[in-house]
Symmetry: C2
Subunit: 307 residues, 2 copies
C-alpha cells in the first residue's frame, strides 16, 4: 500500500491520532466482537479509552436488539458500557420516525423484530405487523388485503418472518402516496464466522422497494442520520471524532460522509485489497470508502493506552 492514503496506524502516528480526537465511534460485529466472542483485547481498549477521558459510542446497523440488549451483551463480554452509548438501528429508526418524520403516538406497519417494536413503543409509536403473516386466498384477495387506516409509515428492518404476504401488505400500504417509507439499513448479507453468511435486511428492503416502485429513506450507516442522532445528543465535534469499523461501504463511508477521521480494522469483512481497489478506481464515490488508517485489530491501540 505504498504511496496510499490509508496508512497503518502504529507508533507516533497512533498517539497523534488519539490526541486529536475526543469521541470514538465503534461498529460492533467484526470490530469489538465476532459472534458471541469479544475480539481479544477489545474490552481493555474500550475501557482504557474511557479512562483516558474519551467518549466512546457504538453504532451498529443490526436492528434485532434494543439498546438495553446491546449494553447487557457488552457487559457480559467485559465492556464498560451504558445503554445511552449504544446507537443501533432499532433505536435510531424510532428516533428518525420521531424527529425527521414527525410521528408521535402514531402507528406504523413494521417488518422487523420484537426489539424494533420495543424501541418504537419506547417513543410512543405503535405498530402492526410484527410476527408471521400467513398467506390465504389468491391475487385478488392479496390486492384487497385489509389495511389498518391508522398506519402512517412502512418500516423495514431485519425480519425473520419476512414472507410474500408481508411483502404484499407493505406494497398495498405504499401504493398510498402519503404513506412514509423507512428502512433500517441496506446491508445485503449478515456475515457469520467461518466465511458463512445469511441474507441481510438490504435484500428484504430491495424486494419491497422494487414491488412498491418507491425508494425508502434509510437510517443506518452509511446514511449520516446515526451520526447526527448521536452528535446532536452529545455535542460531538466532527473534527475531533474517529469512526472505527470493519466495512468500507458502511462504516468508513459513514465516516467520510460526516467528515470524521476513519480507521479500518481487519478483524471483519473488508480487506486491504478492497481498500486498494477503491483507491485505484478513480471513482470519487469509491474513494470515499478509503479509510485514513488501518489496524489488524483494535487491540493494536493498546500500546498507546497502557503506557
Amino acid at each position: 500500500m505504498s504511496g496510499s492514503k490509508c496508512a497503518r496506524l502504529q507508533g507516533a502516528r497512533l498517539q497523534q491520532l488519539l490526541d486529536s480526537v475526543d469521541s470514538i465511534l465503534f461498529d460492533c460485529d467484526g470490530v469489538i466482537w465476532r459472534g458471541d466472542q469479544a475480539v481479544p483485547g477489545a474490552p481493555q481498549v474500550i475501557n482504557l479509552l474511557k479512562r483516558h477521558g474519551k467518549r466512546v459510542f457504538f453504532v451498529t446497523n443490526n436492528s434485532t436488539k434494543t439498546r438495553r440488549m446491546y449494553a447487557d451483551k457488552m457487559s457480559t463480554l467485559g465492556f464498560d458500557v451504558t445503554e445511552q452509548e449504544v446507537f443501533g438501528t432499532a433505536f435510531c429508526c424510532a428516533a428518525f420516525l420521531q424527529t425527521a418524520c414527525g410521528l408521535r403516538g402514531q402507528k406504523v406497519f413494521l417488518m422487523g423484530s420484537q426489539a424494533m417494536r420495543q424501541e418504537l413503543e419506547a417513543v410512543g409509536i405503535r405498530q402492526t405487523g410484527v410476527g408471521p403473516d400467513h398467506v390465504s386466498g389468491g391475487p385478488g384477495d392479496w390486492a384487497n388485503v385489509p389495511l389498518d387506516p391508522e398506519v402512517k409509515a412502512v418500516v423495514v428492518g431485519f425480519d425473520q418472518d419476512f414472507s410474500y404476504m408481508k411483502l404484499n401488505r407493505a406494497v398495498q400500504y405504499l401504493i398510498q402516496k402519503d404513506c412514509l417509507f423507512v428502512g433500517t439499513n441496506r446491508d445485503t448479507r449478515l456475515p457469520l464466522e467461518g466465511g458463512r453468511a445469511v441474507p441481510g435486511t438490504g435484500c428484504l428492503l430491495q424486494a419491497v422497494e422494487t414491488a412498491a416502485q418507491r425508494q425508502a429513506q434509510t437510517v443506518g450507516k452509511p446514511s449520516p442520520f446515526m451520526f447526527e442522532c448521536l452528535a446532536s445528543q452529545f455535542g460531538v465535534e466532527r473534527e475531533r471524532c474517529l469512526m472505527v469499523g470493519d466495512r468500507l461501504d458502511t462504516d468508513i463511508l459513514l465516516g467520510s460522509n460526516c467528515g470524521l477521521k476513519t480507521l479500518l480494522t481487519l478483524t471483519g469483512v473488508s480487506t486491504l485489497e478492497d481498500v486498494e481497489g477503491h483507491e485505484k478506481s478513480g471513482c470519487e464515490e469509491r474513494r470515499k470508502m478509503v479509510p485514513d488508517f488501518y489496524v489488524e485489530s483494535i487491540a493494536d491501540l493498546l500500546p498507546a493506552l497502557q503506557g
Copy 2:
C-alpha cells in the same frame, strides 16, 4: 404519434400484415383475457386466425399454471386451443433445465408453485422446496441449514410461500459455485383489474440474487428462450412471425430481441405515452421496446378475418 415508427394497425395495412405472417404469438393476461374474463372479441379472433391457416401460440411469464391448466382456462373462455400451443414459464423453465442446463432425472431446489413442480416432474426433474419453510433457531442455524446434496440448481418462480427461510436456503445452495441458478422471469408486479397490483416474481428473484451475489439466467420474456423453445419445436420462421402483447418491456422486447414483427394492444399495462417515451429517448435499448404497430384491442383484427 405522427412520424412515429409505431403505426395504428387498420385497413389495408392490417390485411398486409396478416398476409405477411404464418405464426402469431399472443401474450395472455391483458391481451386475450383480463383476470377471468376474455377480452371481448378475442376468442373469435384466435379461432378465425386458426381457420385462416395461421399457427397461433400463447406465451406467458406467469408460472403458476401448467400448459394443461392454461388450455382448460382458454377452452372455458371460448378459445379453440390445445395445450401444445401454450408456452408458460412453468413449462419453459422445465424445458430450459432439460435442454440448456442438461438436467435429467436430477433434483432442484424450487421456490415456486405446484404447477412448476408438475411441469418439472413431467420432464423427470425432481424438486425439494415447494410449500412453506418455517423459521427456527437463529443466524448460526440458518447458515447451517440442512441442504439436499442431490440439488443441482436453484429455481425461482412465483412463490406465494416465499419466506426468509426459503430465501436463506436458496442462498446457502447458491454459495456452492457449481449450483445452477434459474429464474422464470423478472416481472416486478402482477397487475390486476382496477389498477391494483401485487408483487411479482422479479421482486423475489432480486432478493435471492442480491443475497447470493449472483445473477440468475431467466427463461421468460424478454429472454429469447421462450421463442426459441417454440420455434425449434414448430419450425417457425422469424420473418413470418408476429408477437402480440400488452407490455413493452417483456412482450415487445421479446419480439425485437428475436427479430419478429411486433404489435402492441392497449388492453393491458403499456400505453401510447410509454411508446412515445421510448421513441424519444434516443436510447438504443429503449427503442427496441417500440412496437411496429398498435391496436386498441385485438378485436381490431376482426374486420380482416370476417370478410
